[in-house]
């Protein structure tokens, strides 16, 4: 009897398991989703936001067959297309974008957000709320501000990389650029009194392409950093000034080249192999706030057309001094612009003072943007040039020797 019961029970189980054979009805296969690789956010008209998404096309070489109802890029071999929609908020724009696509938008692989300049100037707080709240987003995604429209940046079909987003993230890894991701943005919004932070500033390659590139390589250009205060963009630093900003924030990477400014148009160029910047805050007895900036870097001689002899100890010291002056100039120049023109602390001075002088910081915190302008710099720069490269004398000097 007992065995009979077991058999009946097992048979029932078998029949029950047949129900499962239909598969999962909620399945979401790769060919049901539209993978977003980059997103652009623009100001459309007043109170309207335009969300553009660069979407990956899975099939290879299906030229001219991009569809989706949105605006497509006019390239033959692009493996992505860009679709956009306008709404009163990011959420509504995304909803409208979804209406036009046959596949479900998938944000899990989105690594890049580009804000159009107008949107950035109006404030990115509302968009950040959506981006961070929506569960599919990644905090690792990089953030950029585009000169002009983000939509145009997305539309670029670069020659060297598969799509414009890949090109952007590769660009960020180079020594002239930097990366800022969502996590860093949120962290700085929370931790700085003025909600101040900086985001890489890029422009569409075509703006400079005709002048600087033959055969249109179609890339986006890094052109400094944009500055944010109260989550609104208030200005930007150009590439030269950004260089000083990188020195301040310990963002100088190896392979950076310092070209020294020489009186008679000669060149001394140094290829950096490493650099470290440390900030040490100090408050003097009479209440002066001083930030000591200590830069220690090392680099090898890359080009020397001047009369300075690397091998002579005295002249080598002079060369080092010239390099130090160059870095010092670059730092003071940047700080002057940040302190006097924009009055925004994107170099983490506030954070450093907070860590060392919490009591004094508490008092100053509400008026930090005024106090920041008064902070004095104390520079301690040391650029070491230990190796001359393959030549020990410049060609001009060698001629002198053979005479």
């Amino acid at each position: 009897m007992n065995r009979f019961r077991t058999h009946v029970f097992l048979c029932c189980l078998c029949f029950l398991s047949m129900v499962q054979l239909t598969g999962c009805w909620d399945r979401m296969e790769v060919n049901d989703i539209a993978i977003i690789v980059g997103a652009g956010i623009d100001q459309a008209s007043t109170n309207q936001v335009k969300l553009s998404a660069e979407i990956y096309i899975p099939e290879e070489n299906n030229s001219e067959s991009q569809s989706g109802g949105g605006v497509t890029t006019n390239s033959g071999n692009g493996k992505t297309f860009v679709s956009s929609a306008t709404g009163s908020s990011m959420a509504e724009a995304m909803y409208k974008l979804q209406e036009r696509l046959s596949r479900k938008l998938y944000w899990g692989h989105n690594d890049i957000f580009v804000f159009g300049q107008k949107r950035a100037e109006k404030g990115i707080q509302d968009d950040l709320d959506f981006i961070l709240r929506y569960v599919r987003m990644r905090e690792r995604a990089n953030v950029y501000v585009a000169e002009g429209k983000a939509f145009d940046i997305l539309g670029i079909i670069p020659k060297l990389e598969p799509n414009s987003m890949e090109a952007l993230s590769e660009l960020s890894k180079t020594e002239i650029s930097t990366t800022v991701d969502l996590k860093q943005v949120v962290q700085q919004i929370v931790e700085t009194p003025d909600e101040s932070f900086s985001i890489p500033y890029i422009n569409r390659g075509t703006l400079v392409t005709d002048k600087k590139h033959n055969r249109n390589p179609n890339v986006s250009y890094f052109q400094g950093v944009s500055l944010f205060k109260k989550t609104k963009m208030i200005g930007s630093l150009n590439t030269d000034v950004t260089w000083g900003y990188f020195w301040m924030t310990n963002n100088i990477k190896g392979n950076t080249i310092i070209a020294l400014d020489m009186p008679h148009h000669e060149t001394i160029a140094i290829l950096l192999t490493g650099s470290k910047t440390t900030l040490t805050p100090r408050i003097t007895a009479d209440g002066k706030w001083i930030m000591k900036v200590k830069v220690r870097s090392e680099g090898n001689l890359l080009q020397n057309t001047s009369a300075i002899d690397f091998m002579s100890p005295k002249q080598h010291a002079e060369m080092v001094k010239l390099a130090n002056e160059e870095v010092k100039f670059s730092i003071t120049n940047t700080m002057r612009i940040l302190q006097k023109k924009y009055k925004v602390d994107v170099v983490q001075f506030g954070d450093e003072f907070r860590k060392k002088y919490p009591k004094q910081w508490k008092k100053v915190k509400p008026n930090w943007s005024t106090a920041f302008q008064q902070v004095q710099l104390e520079l301690d720069v040391m650029v070491d040039i230990p190796r001359p490269g393959f030549l020990n004398k410049s060609i001009v000097q060698m001629k002198d020797v053979s005479k």
Partner: protein
């Protein structure tokens, strides 16, 4: 319910997971919101309460007849009043575990299974727990011996992978806002530690009670260390913005990226959470069944398992209708309630029982 017996070591493993399963994910956010930059101190300070709970539970165990807390209640307060107290204590535990289950369901539904009804997630978990509770405490302990090291290791691996991203200077300045915020955070974390008093139900089933003190203290130390690691990882990575995320460690794990292909590892966090909560819920579930069996003198304890399952399932939805209520309860009002039920109530009973004993001794 097969009775079975476990060793003090097995109990300590279960205790370890009992506290850590929900705290590792939820705590960094809550303690940052309350204590700011000093949030990393809260686990260290509140572990004192953990040690105290173990000490108290063992003291209670010493004076209890047959080692059972519920019988102590009956001898101290009289049969019927004692039974009422027992039932109230069990109901309190049902309330706490219902919150835990709901929290588990909400986490899965918000972050991973967006379209699945929360009832299915919770129902499936409760059925699994019912199975392990029916098989007895020994099975649960042995399952724990296999899986809890895995869970702990996964949590640690996530923290280790994040080391390059961490900024140790984030915790400076220490004592930025003074002692009051630290105290607030400590009380909330203590709300987790005092849940250790749940072992009052299980102690009669432990083979070597003498060893429980040593292993219990070790478990508390382990819990403290894991909490510290989780807190520090989240905070050194995200700074004060930790308070803005509901599940900071999940956010942190999403941040892991190595060599452009080793990323998207948050599924590990889900595994840690599901397995961890499985042990926490089963432990509570078993304790509740055991308590009901003792109070109502049930001769066939297996019969209790399914009704309790249904009760837990429904009470999960009675207690709160949305995430806001659950979150508010865990972070604010719930802590004092949990402390009162898990710590102050047993402590009062302990003192009353001690006085009664001394009184009796004086009489004779």
């Amino acid at each position: 319910m097969v009775q079975g017996r476990i060793s003090a070591f097995q109990l300590s493993i279960l205790m370890f997971q009992l506290i850590l399963s929900s705290s590792v994910l939820l705590m960094p956010s809550i303690s940052t919101a309350l204590s700011g930059k000093d949030m990393w101190m809260t686990p260290i300070l509140s572990s004192a309460l953990g040690f105290f709970t173990i000490w108290m539970v063992l003291k209670i165990h010493e004076i209890s007849p047959n080692g059972s807390f519920l019988e102590l209640l009956e001898t101290t307060c009289g049969r019927w009043v004692g039974k009422c107290f027992s039932l109230a204590f069990i109901l309190f535990q049902i309330h706490i575990v219902a919150i835990t289950i709901r929290d588990y369901g909400e986490f899965i539904v918000t972050n991973f299974f967006l379209k699945t009804p929360v009832q299915v997630i919770i129902g499936a978990m409760l059925l699994l727990c019912a199975w392990v509770v029916k098989s007895g405490i020994e099975v649960m302990a042995r399952t724990g011996q296999i899986f809890i090291p895995v869970i702990t290791l996964c949590t640690l691996v996530i923290c280790i992978l994040l080391i390059p991203e961490l900024d140790p200077t984030e915790i400076l300045p220490i004592f930025e806002r003074g002692a009051a915020p630290i105290a607030k955070g400590t009380v909330v974390v203590a709300g987790w530690f005092c849940q250790l008093s749940l072992i009052l139900f299980i102690l009669p089933l432990v083979k070597d009670v003498k060893e429980v003190r040593k292993w219990g203290y070790l478990a508390v130390t382990g819990i403290m260390l894991m909490m510290l690691i989780a807190n520090l990882t989240a905070f050194l990575l995200m700074g004060e913005s930790t308070a803005f995320f509901n599940y900071p460690l999940l956010t942190a794990s999403r941040y892991i990226a190595y060599a452009e292909f080793f990323e998207h590892v948050e599924a590990v966090v889900m595994m840690v959470w599901v397995l961890g909560e499985f042990f926490k819920i089963s432990f509570y579930y078993y304790a509740i069944c055991k308590g009901l069996e003792e109070t109502c003198r049930v001769s066939k304890p297996e019969a209790l398992v399914l009704p309790v399952c249904v009760l837990l399932f429904t009470s999960t939805f009675w207690l709160a209708k949305d995430f806001q209520t659950v979150g508010d309860f865990i972070a604010v009002s719930g802590t004092l309630y949990i402390l009162a039920g898990n710590l102050i109530f047993p402590l009062c009973i302990f003192f009353v029982a001690r006085m009664k004993l001394r009184f009796k001794m004086n009489q004779t």
